[in-house]
Point group: C2
């Protein structure tokens, strides 16, 4: 399970394994650290191995529902130690699109509300408003849509009214589905699609593979904060030497890595399987799981202190 | 209010008013007979005038929520007499895409459930199922999505599961919004967009301006039922001589008229105003309201028995 499967042709010296230079790690959560409620074997030990070496580690998730503190608690339950400032969520990315003092209608969970409040904005909770029978939201500067099981027609009506009255439309992420214990569940992309269709507007999406998340992750990995903005196109931005994104989805994690200037290590412990290969964008390394990627980077090549 | 505003250049003899030949009428409801709860002035009298002349009248609505009996009752409340067999709804159109004996997950109101049951299918009520806490629908042949204020994340999850397991995805209609007393509300198009995004499938849409509705309305207006199928493209099918669609939306009613082989009379008593003119498809007649269209057809030109 933990072996390195393959690498693409190295970008440096012929025959070189690109992983040996990685010292800054952006780790996706679902499909990399856990899958549903199950810890992916070897993942906690792999993270610990990187920490022993003094590598920088950042946890990156498109799940907007949890606050960073809740993500840290969930990581701890999977035997992974993390600091709150090592967690980057799509809610935090969405909050960078909000200005202090703005009034924001939030369709979403605690993670979105906390992030928007943390940006200095006034939060109007669409779910609470709808439950109270309110059909029309107060005037808002923006609507932020994140995944919530409380999404319903009344909430959609409030979002439509706010956007129709001039509010900007922001989505934490646009994943169409996400994996659950017994299959897949509708993702935030589905909720955003409903709001977009009703309003006739396109949402600005914050999470992977989009720009707001790229800016946050680059900063968390120690890249120069200014002067090298992530692009919103598909071209790579200025690469961060020695930085890698580890994820299970080429269409989000891989595209995100390219846009944020990171190498991309694809793991087959999530939604992508060996039968899906080859994939685009082309990964720098493909491994069975995080343990395999870390072994490739740390193992025999660089020594393991 | 009731005057005829203009006609496009006549298609027959130079100077001829095309309306004088209309003897079969497909009438949109919202924006033609009523607007919200208000009866549009002159509309009941205009319908009565057509009936006195012996014209064929069919009422055509994309609103899937009501059964034909409920539509007849609503028309009666607006002082318009109609028979149940004179009502064509998008639910009835959707039901033509269902085969007897099929099992159908219905996301929608009484109109959809009644129409699907009327097609000889077994109805599985997604809202009732979700309210009972069921997260996975039984195996279904099709999912039919129609507007319902009970739409929520649990219902969306059931629809995703059914389509993911192989069910066909059918939408009664895809209007993004519909008018309500204090503005606009999310239309079925928004609910369908959520299901489409989650499932990655495109729904077959039944209502105006799509094919299933065109087939039903042509039949109701007395066109040959076979041999001249409505097209799904934008080209006109074989025209029905003397038949007209009266509606307030060029993008649904006008396009529908062209596809179903009907003339198109645009009324300005709904969402389209004089400042929106000219519109595409080009109407054969533009009038302030239904009374104006009927006056144009019946008035001085043809005599009024």
């Amino acid at each position: 399970m933990a072996g390195r499967l393959s690498t693409t042709p190295p970008t440096g010296v012929a025959g070189e394994n690109p992983a040996v230079r990685w010292r800054a790690w952006a780790l996706d959560l679902d499909g990399v650290i856990w899958r549903g409620r199950r810890t992916i074997p070897g993942a906690p030990e792999a993270v610990a191995r990187l920490r022993r070496r003094g590598d920088r580690v950042v946890f990156v998730t498109n799940n907007s529902a949890r606050t960073p503190v809740q993500v840290v608690e969930t990581l701890a339950a999977h035997r992974v130690t993390a600091g709150v400032d090592e967690v980057v969520t799509s809610s935090l990315a969405a909050a960078t699109l909000i200005r202090p003092g703005e009034t924001v209608l939030v369709v979403g969970g605690p993670g979105v509300r906390a992030a928007v409040a943390g940006a200095g904005a006034e939060v109007v909770d669409a779910v609470a408003l709808a439950r109270a029978g309110t059909r029309r939201a107060p005037t808002c500067d923006a609507v932020v849509v994140g995944i919530t099981p409380d999404f319903d027609y009344a909430v959609l009506t409030l979002a439509l009214g706010a956007v129709d009255a001039g509010a900007r439309l922001i989505a934490t992420n646009d994943d169409p589905t996400f994996p659950v214990a017994d299959g897949i569940a509708p993702g935030n992309g589905a909720l955003v699609a409903a709001v977009e269709r009703a309003t006739g507007r396109r949402a600005v999406v914050a999470g992977k593979p989009h720009e707001a998340m790229a800016v946050l992750v680059r900063a968390a990995l120690g890249a120069p904060p200014a002067g090298e903005p992530a692009t919103s196109g598909s071209e790579a931005t200025t690469p961060i030497p020695g930085a890698v994104m580890v994820g299970d989805r080429p269409d989000t994690d891989g595209l995100f890595a390219r846009r944020a200037g990171l190498a991309f290590a694809l793991v087959l412990s999530g939604v992508t399987t060996a039968s899906d290969l080859p994939v685009e964008p082309q990964p720098d390394v493909v491994a069975a799981d995080l343990a395999g990627v870390v072994e490739s980077a740390v193992g025999d090549h660089a020594g393991d202190p």
